[in-house]
Symmetry: C2
Subunit: 198 residues, 2 copies
Protein backbone atom coordinates (compact mmCIF):
# COMPACT_ATOMS: atom_id res chain seq x y z
CA UNK A 1 0.00 0.00 0.00
CA UNK A 2 1.17 3.52 -0.75
CA UNK A 3 1.20 6.11 2.01
CA UNK A 4 -1.90 7.77 0.51
CA UNK A 5 -3.82 4.49 0.45
CA UNK A 6 -2.82 3.75 4.05
CA UNK A 7 -4.01 7.15 5.22
CA UNK A 8 -7.26 6.74 3.32
CA UNK A 9 -7.90 3.34 4.93
CA UNK A 10 -7.13 4.69 8.41
CA UNK A 11 -9.47 7.65 7.91
CA UNK A 12 -12.26 5.37 6.64
CA UNK A 13 -11.77 3.06 9.66
CA UNK A 14 -12.20 6.04 11.96
CA UNK A 15 -15.15 7.33 9.91
CA UNK A 16 -16.84 3.92 10.27
CA UNK A 17 -16.40 4.04 14.05
CA UNK A 18 -17.88 7.56 14.25
CA UNK A 19 -20.76 6.86 11.84
CA UNK A 20 -21.72 3.66 13.68
CA UNK A 21 -22.47 5.84 16.70
CA UNK A 22 -23.87 9.08 15.23
CA UNK A 23 -25.01 8.04 11.75
CA UNK A 24 -23.70 8.99 8.31
CA UNK A 25 -25.39 12.38 8.60
CA UNK A 26 -23.53 13.16 11.83
CA UNK A 27 -20.17 12.47 10.22
CA UNK A 28 -18.49 15.66 8.98
CA UNK A 29 -15.12 16.21 7.35
CA UNK A 30 -14.42 18.76 10.11
CA UNK A 31 -15.04 16.32 12.98
CA UNK A 32 -13.14 13.62 11.11
CA UNK A 33 -10.19 15.99 10.72
CA UNK A 34 -10.23 16.56 14.48
CA UNK A 35 -10.40 12.86 15.40
CA UNK A 36 -7.74 11.78 12.89
CA UNK A 37 -5.51 14.83 13.50
CA UNK A 38 -5.32 15.49 9.77
CA UNK A 39 -6.01 18.82 8.10
CA UNK A 40 -9.46 19.55 6.73
CA UNK A 41 -7.90 20.53 3.40
CA UNK A 42 -6.03 17.20 3.28
CA UNK A 43 -9.27 15.30 3.92
CA UNK A 44 -11.07 17.31 1.24
CA UNK A 45 -8.32 16.29 -1.17
CA UNK A 46 -9.02 12.62 -0.33
CA UNK A 47 -12.83 12.74 -0.23
CA UNK A 48 -14.00 15.86 -2.17
CA UNK A 49 -17.42 16.15 -0.50
CA UNK A 50 -19.49 14.84 2.37
CA UNK A 51 -21.55 12.68 0.01
CA UNK A 52 -18.44 11.26 -1.60
CA UNK A 53 -17.10 10.46 1.89
CA UNK A 54 -20.38 8.71 2.77
CA UNK A 55 -20.26 6.60 -0.42
CA UNK A 56 -16.61 5.67 0.07
CA UNK A 57 -17.37 4.79 3.69
CA UNK A 58 -20.20 2.46 2.61
CA UNK A 59 -17.86 0.74 0.14
CA UNK A 60 -15.23 0.42 2.85
CA UNK A 61 -17.75 -1.07 5.32
CA UNK A 62 -19.04 -3.43 2.63
CA UNK A 63 -15.52 -4.71 1.96
CA UNK A 64 -14.99 -5.25 5.69
CA UNK A 65 -18.33 -7.09 5.98
CA UNK A 66 -17.34 -9.35 3.07
CA UNK A 67 -13.99 -10.12 4.78
CA UNK A 68 -15.45 -10.77 8.24
CA UNK A 69 -18.80 -12.38 7.41
CA UNK A 70 -19.48 -13.34 3.79
CA UNK A 71 -16.20 -14.94 2.69
CA UNK A 72 -15.64 -17.07 5.84
CA UNK A 73 -19.31 -18.16 5.84
CA UNK A 74 -19.03 -19.29 2.22
CA UNK A 75 -15.99 -21.37 3.20
CA UNK A 76 -18.13 -23.49 5.57
CA UNK A 77 -19.68 -26.75 4.27
CA UNK A 78 -22.78 -26.27 2.11
CA UNK A 79 -26.23 -26.31 3.69
CA UNK A 80 -27.10 -25.89 7.33
CA UNK A 81 -23.46 -25.55 8.54
CA UNK A 82 -23.00 -22.65 6.11
CA UNK A 83 -26.23 -20.98 7.27
CA UNK A 84 -25.09 -21.37 10.89
CA UNK A 85 -21.66 -19.88 10.17
CA UNK A 86 -23.29 -16.96 8.36
CA UNK A 87 -25.57 -16.27 11.34
CA UNK A 88 -22.75 -16.61 13.89
CA UNK A 89 -20.49 -14.20 12.02
CA UNK A 90 -23.26 -11.71 11.28
CA UNK A 91 -24.16 -11.59 14.98
CA UNK A 92 -20.50 -11.05 15.89
CA UNK A 93 -20.25 -8.29 13.27
CA UNK A 94 -23.11 -6.35 14.87
CA UNK A 95 -21.80 -7.03 18.38
CA UNK A 96 -18.09 -6.32 17.93
CA UNK A 97 -16.95 -4.86 14.62
CA UNK A 98 -17.80 -1.21 15.37
CA UNK A 99 -18.55 0.65 18.61
CA UNK A 100 -22.12 1.54 17.56
CA UNK A 101 -22.97 -1.80 15.95
CA UNK A 102 -23.70 -2.52 12.32
CA UNK A 103 -23.24 0.63 10.25
CA UNK A 104 -25.80 -0.55 7.70
CA UNK A 105 -28.62 -0.77 10.27
CA UNK A 106 -28.16 2.85 11.29
CA UNK A 107 -27.60 4.09 7.74
CA UNK A 108 -30.63 2.24 6.36
CA UNK A 109 -33.02 3.76 8.90
CA UNK A 110 -31.37 7.14 8.37
CA UNK A 111 -31.47 7.27 4.56
CA UNK A 112 -34.51 5.18 3.65
CA UNK A 113 -36.60 8.32 2.99
CA UNK A 114 -33.81 10.47 1.54
CA UNK A 115 -33.51 9.80 -2.21
CA UNK A 116 -30.06 10.07 -3.73
CA UNK A 117 -26.81 8.19 -4.33
CA UNK A 118 -26.33 7.17 -0.67
CA UNK A 119 -29.78 5.60 -0.45
CA UNK A 120 -29.23 3.88 -3.83
CA UNK A 121 -25.88 2.44 -2.73
CA UNK A 122 -27.37 1.20 0.55
CA UNK A 123 -30.32 -0.42 -1.21
CA UNK A 124 -28.01 -2.16 -3.69
CA UNK A 125 -25.78 -3.49 -0.91
CA UNK A 126 -28.73 -4.68 1.16
CA UNK A 127 -30.31 -6.45 -1.84
CA UNK A 128 -26.98 -8.15 -2.56
CA UNK A 129 -26.78 -9.33 1.03
CA UNK A 130 -30.37 -10.65 1.12
CA UNK A 131 -29.65 -12.46 -2.18
CA UNK A 132 -26.53 -14.00 -0.62
CA UNK A 133 -28.48 -15.25 2.40
CA UNK A 134 -31.16 -16.76 0.14
CA UNK A 135 -28.46 -18.41 -1.99
CA UNK A 136 -26.76 -19.92 1.08
CA UNK A 137 -30.17 -21.17 2.27
CA UNK A 138 -30.71 -22.83 -1.13
CA UNK A 139 -27.59 -24.97 -0.61
CA UNK A 140 -29.43 -26.31 2.46
CA UNK A 141 -32.45 -27.26 0.35
CA UNK A 142 -30.14 -28.90 -2.21
CA UNK A 143 -28.34 -30.85 0.53
CA UNK A 144 -31.67 -32.06 1.96
CA UNK A 145 -31.21 -30.12 5.23
CA UNK A 146 -34.28 -27.95 4.61
CA UNK A 147 -37.69 -28.76 3.15
CA UNK A 148 -37.94 -28.35 -0.65
CA UNK A 149 -40.99 -26.10 -0.18
CA UNK A 150 -39.16 -23.65 2.09
CA UNK A 151 -38.93 -20.11 0.66
CA UNK A 152 -35.30 -18.86 0.51
CA UNK A 153 -36.23 -15.18 0.06
CA UNK A 154 -38.63 -15.34 3.01
CA UNK A 155 -35.89 -16.97 5.10
CA UNK A 156 -33.49 -14.15 4.18
CA UNK A 157 -36.14 -11.54 5.06
CA UNK A 158 -36.94 -13.22 8.38
CA UNK A 159 -33.31 -13.70 9.38
CA UNK A 160 -32.70 -10.04 8.62
CA UNK A 161 -35.61 -9.21 10.94
CA UNK A 162 -34.06 -11.32 13.69
CA UNK A 163 -30.78 -9.41 13.30
CA UNK A 164 -32.56 -6.02 13.35
CA UNK A 165 -34.36 -7.07 16.55
CA UNK A 166 -31.00 -8.13 18.00
CA UNK A 167 -29.46 -4.76 17.13
CA UNK A 168 -32.38 -2.93 18.76
CA UNK A 169 -32.39 -5.09 21.91
CA UNK A 170 -28.63 -5.01 22.42
CA UNK A 171 -28.00 -1.37 21.48
CA UNK A 172 -31.02 0.66 22.53
CA UNK A 173 -32.35 -1.56 25.32
CA UNK A 174 -28.97 -2.95 26.52
CA UNK A 175 -30.84 -6.24 26.99
CA UNK A 176 -28.42 -8.87 28.40
CA UNK A 177 -30.56 -11.59 26.75
CA UNK A 178 -30.33 -10.04 23.27
CA UNK A 179 -27.91 -12.64 21.85
CA UNK A 180 -29.84 -15.53 23.44
CA UNK A 181 -33.10 -14.19 21.95
CA UNK A 182 -31.50 -13.81 18.52
CA UNK A 183 -30.24 -17.39 18.73
CA UNK A 184 -33.70 -18.67 19.68
CA UNK A 185 -35.23 -16.75 16.76
CA UNK A 186 -32.62 -18.28 14.43
CA UNK A 187 -33.23 -21.83 15.70
CA UNK A 188 -37.00 -21.34 15.26
CA UNK A 189 -36.42 -20.29 11.64
CA UNK A 190 -34.28 -23.40 11.02
CA UNK A 191 -36.92 -25.60 12.68
CA UNK A 192 -39.64 -24.12 10.46
CA UNK A 193 -37.40 -24.59 7.40
CA UNK A 194 -37.20 -28.34 8.08
CA UNK A 195 -40.99 -28.73 8.18
CA UNK A 196 -43.38 -28.92 5.25
CA UNK A 197 -44.95 -25.53 4.63
CA UNK A 198 -48.63 -25.45 5.52
CA UNK B 1 -58.21 23.32 23.16
CA UNK B 2 -56.69 26.75 23.60
CA UNK B 3 -55.06 28.45 20.62
CA UNK B 4 -51.60 27.76 22.10
CA UNK B 5 -52.34 24.05 22.50
CA UNK B 6 -53.69 23.85 18.96
CA UNK B 7 -50.58 25.51 17.54
CA UNK B 8 -48.36 23.22 19.60
CA UNK B 9 -50.20 20.10 18.30
CA UNK B 10 -50.01 21.32 14.69
CA UNK B 11 -46.27 22.02 15.03
CA UNK B 12 -45.66 18.59 16.57
CA UNK B 13 -47.64 16.92 13.76
CA UNK B 14 -45.42 18.67 11.21
CA UNK B 15 -42.30 17.84 13.27
CA UNK B 16 -43.31 14.16 13.24
CA UNK B 17 -43.68 14.22 9.45
CA UNK B 18 -40.25 15.81 9.01
CA UNK B 19 -38.49 13.60 11.57
CA UNK B 20 -39.95 10.43 10.04
CA UNK B 21 -38.04 11.31 6.86
CA UNK B 22 -34.79 12.89 8.09
CA UNK B 23 -34.53 11.67 11.69
CA UNK B 24 -34.77 13.53 14.99
CA UNK B 25 -31.26 14.89 14.47
CA UNK B 26 -32.21 16.43 11.13
CA UNK B 27 -35.14 18.29 12.68
CA UNK B 28 -34.24 21.88 13.58
CA UNK B 29 -36.32 24.67 15.04
CA UNK B 30 -35.23 26.78 12.06
CA UNK B 31 -36.49 24.32 9.43
CA UNK B 32 -39.66 23.74 11.45
CA UNK B 33 -40.27 27.49 11.53
CA UNK B 34 -39.98 27.55 7.73
CA UNK B 35 -42.34 24.61 7.13
CA UNK B 36 -44.97 25.80 9.66
CA UNK B 37 -44.64 29.49 8.70
CA UNK B 38 -44.22 30.41 12.36
CA UNK B 39 -41.44 32.58 13.76
CA UNK B 40 -38.31 30.96 15.18
CA UNK B 41 -38.72 32.99 18.36
CA UNK B 42 -42.31 31.78 18.71
CA UNK B 43 -41.19 28.15 18.34
CA UNK B 44 -38.42 28.68 20.88
CA UNK B 45 -41.07 29.97 23.28
CA UNK B 46 -43.01 26.70 22.79
CA UNK B 47 -40.11 24.24 22.81
CA UNK B 48 -37.11 25.95 24.49
CA UNK B 49 -34.40 23.76 22.93
CA UNK B 50 -33.82 21.15 20.25
CA UNK B 51 -33.63 18.40 22.86
CA UNK B 52 -36.85 19.55 24.49
CA UNK B 53 -38.50 19.55 21.04
CA UNK B 54 -37.24 15.99 20.42
CA UNK B 55 -38.63 14.79 23.77
CA UNK B 56 -42.01 16.47 23.24
CA UNK B 57 -42.14 15.02 19.74
CA UNK B 58 -41.54 11.50 21.11
CA UNK B 59 -44.35 11.98 23.64
CA UNK B 60 -46.60 13.27 20.87
CA UNK B 61 -45.81 10.28 18.63
CA UNK B 62 -46.31 7.89 21.56
CA UNK B 63 -49.78 9.34 22.22
CA UNK B 64 -50.66 8.99 18.55
CA UNK B 65 -49.40 5.39 18.51
CA UNK B 66 -51.56 4.61 21.55
CA UNK B 67 -54.60 6.12 19.81
CA UNK B 68 -54.06 4.37 16.47
CA UNK B 69 -52.61 1.01 17.54
CA UNK B 70 -52.63 0.16 21.25
CA UNK B 71 -56.11 1.24 22.37
CA UNK B 72 -58.04 -0.22 19.40
CA UNK B 73 -56.04 -3.48 19.61
CA UNK B 74 -56.87 -3.81 23.30
CA UNK B 75 -60.56 -3.42 22.41
CA UNK B 76 -60.44 -6.61 20.30
CA UNK B 77 -61.41 -9.94 21.92
CA UNK B 78 -58.70 -11.48 24.12
CA UNK B 79 -56.22 -13.93 22.67
CA UNK B 80 -55.41 -14.50 19.02
CA UNK B 81 -57.94 -11.93 17.69
CA UNK B 82 -56.29 -9.26 19.85
CA UNK B 83 -52.79 -10.29 18.65
CA UNK B 84 -54.02 -10.12 15.05
CA UNK B 85 -55.56 -6.67 15.54
CA UNK B 86 -52.34 -5.44 17.14
CA UNK B 87 -50.28 -6.70 14.19
CA UNK B 88 -52.69 -5.29 11.59
CA UNK B 89 -52.71 -1.84 13.16
CA UNK B 90 -48.97 -1.79 13.78
CA UNK B 91 -48.33 -2.60 10.11
CA UNK B 92 -50.74 0.16 9.04
CA UNK B 93 -48.98 2.59 11.40
CA UNK B 94 -45.61 1.99 9.74
CA UNK B 95 -47.17 2.05 6.27
CA UNK B 96 -49.44 5.08 6.53
CA UNK B 97 -49.21 7.21 9.68
CA UNK B 98 -46.18 9.28 8.64
CA UNK B 99 -44.49 9.90 5.28
CA UNK B 100 -41.19 8.28 6.37
CA UNK B 101 -42.72 5.36 8.27
CA UNK B 102 -42.53 4.65 11.99
CA UNK B 103 -40.73 7.46 13.77
CA UNK B 104 -39.51 5.10 16.49
CA UNK B 105 -37.65 2.85 14.04
CA UNK B 106 -35.62 5.76 12.70
CA UNK B 107 -35.09 7.36 16.11
CA UNK B 108 -34.01 4.08 17.74
CA UNK B 109 -31.32 3.39 15.16
CA UNK B 110 -30.25 7.05 15.34
CA UNK B 111 -29.97 7.40 19.12
CA UNK B 112 -29.06 3.91 20.33
CA UNK B 113 -25.41 4.90 20.77
CA UNK B 114 -26.02 8.50 21.94
CA UNK B 115 -26.56 8.50 25.73
CA UNK B 116 -28.91 11.14 27.11
CA UNK B 117 -32.57 11.96 27.74
CA UNK B 118 -33.72 11.20 24.17
CA UNK B 119 -32.21 7.72 24.21
CA UNK B 120 -33.64 7.10 27.70
CA UNK B 121 -37.13 8.16 26.62
CA UNK B 122 -36.96 5.98 23.51
CA UNK B 123 -35.77 2.96 25.50
CA UNK B 124 -38.57 3.41 28.04
CA UNK B 125 -41.22 3.68 25.31
CA UNK B 126 -39.88 0.66 23.46
CA UNK B 127 -39.78 -1.45 26.64
CA UNK B 128 -43.38 -0.44 27.39
CA UNK B 129 -44.42 -1.47 23.91
CA UNK B 130 -42.62 -4.85 24.05
CA UNK B 131 -44.27 -5.44 27.46
CA UNK B 132 -47.66 -4.63 25.94
CA UNK B 133 -47.14 -7.11 23.09
CA UNK B 134 -46.08 -9.82 25.57
CA UNK B 135 -49.12 -9.08 27.73
CA UNK B 136 -51.48 -9.33 24.75
CA UNK B 137 -49.82 -12.61 23.78
CA UNK B 138 -50.40 -13.93 27.33
CA UNK B 139 -54.15 -13.48 26.88
CA UNK B 140 -53.80 -15.95 24.00
CA UNK B 141 -52.10 -18.48 26.26
CA UNK B 142 -54.82 -17.97 28.89
CA UNK B 143 -57.55 -18.44 26.26
CA UNK B 144 -55.94 -21.66 25.04
CA UNK B 145 -55.08 -20.19 21.61
CA UNK B 146 -51.33 -20.59 22.15
CA UNK B 147 -49.27 -23.33 23.76
CA UNK B 148 -48.71 -22.88 27.53
CA UNK B 149 -44.95 -23.28 26.99
CA UNK B 150 -44.74 -20.42 24.47
CA UNK B 151 -42.52 -17.52 25.57
CA UNK B 152 -44.40 -14.17 25.50
CA UNK B 153 -41.24 -12.01 25.67
CA UNK B 154 -39.66 -13.99 22.83
CA UNK B 155 -42.85 -13.54 20.79
CA UNK B 156 -42.73 -9.79 21.39
CA UNK B 157 -39.05 -9.68 20.38
CA UNK B 158 -39.68 -11.75 17.24
CA UNK B 159 -42.74 -9.76 16.17
CA UNK B 160 -40.72 -6.59 16.60
CA UNK B 161 -38.07 -8.11 14.32
CA UNK B 162 -40.73 -8.87 11.70
CA UNK B 163 -41.89 -5.24 11.83
CA UNK B 164 -38.31 -3.92 11.55
CA UNK B 165 -37.77 -6.16 8.51
CA UNK B 166 -41.03 -4.83 7.04
CA UNK B 167 -39.90 -1.23 7.57
CA UNK B 168 -36.56 -1.96 5.89
CA UNK B 169 -38.09 -3.85 2.95
CA UNK B 170 -40.86 -1.32 2.30
CA UNK B 171 -38.89 1.89 2.91
CA UNK B 172 -35.30 1.28 1.80
CA UNK B 173 -35.88 -1.48 -0.76
CA UNK B 174 -39.36 -0.36 -1.94
CA UNK B 175 -40.17 -4.09 -2.07
CA UNK B 176 -43.77 -4.55 -3.33
CA UNK B 177 -43.92 -7.86 -1.39
CA UNK B 178 -42.96 -6.25 1.94
CA UNK B 179 -46.45 -6.46 3.50
CA UNK B 180 -46.98 -10.02 2.22
CA UNK B 181 -43.61 -11.05 3.69
CA UNK B 182 -44.44 -9.43 7.03
CA UNK B 183 -47.78 -11.26 7.08
CA UNK B 184 -46.07 -14.59 6.34
CA UNK B 185 -43.58 -13.93 9.14
CA UNK B 186 -46.46 -13.13 11.51
CA UNK B 187 -48.40 -16.29 10.56
CA UNK B 188 -45.27 -18.40 11.08
CA UNK B 189 -44.87 -16.92 14.58
CA UNK B 190 -48.50 -17.76 15.39
CA UNK B 191 -48.06 -21.28 14.01
CA UNK B 192 -44.97 -21.80 16.18
CA UNK B 193 -46.86 -20.40 19.19
CA UNK B 194 -49.52 -23.09 18.82
CA UNK B 195 -46.96 -25.92 18.86
CA UNK B 196 -45.21 -27.40 21.88
CA UNK B 197 -41.75 -25.87 22.26
CA UNK B 198 -38.99 -28.36 21.51
Amino acid sequence: MTKGTETRQAVLDEAARVASRVGLGGLTIGSLAASTQLSKSGLFAHFQSKESLQLQLLDHARARFVDLVVRPALAAPRGEPRVRELFRRWLAWDADALPGGCLFVAASAEFDAQPGPVRDRLARDQRDWLDTIAQVFRTGVAEGHFHPGADPEQFAHDLHGAMLAYHHASRLLADPDAAARATRAFEALLLAARRPTT
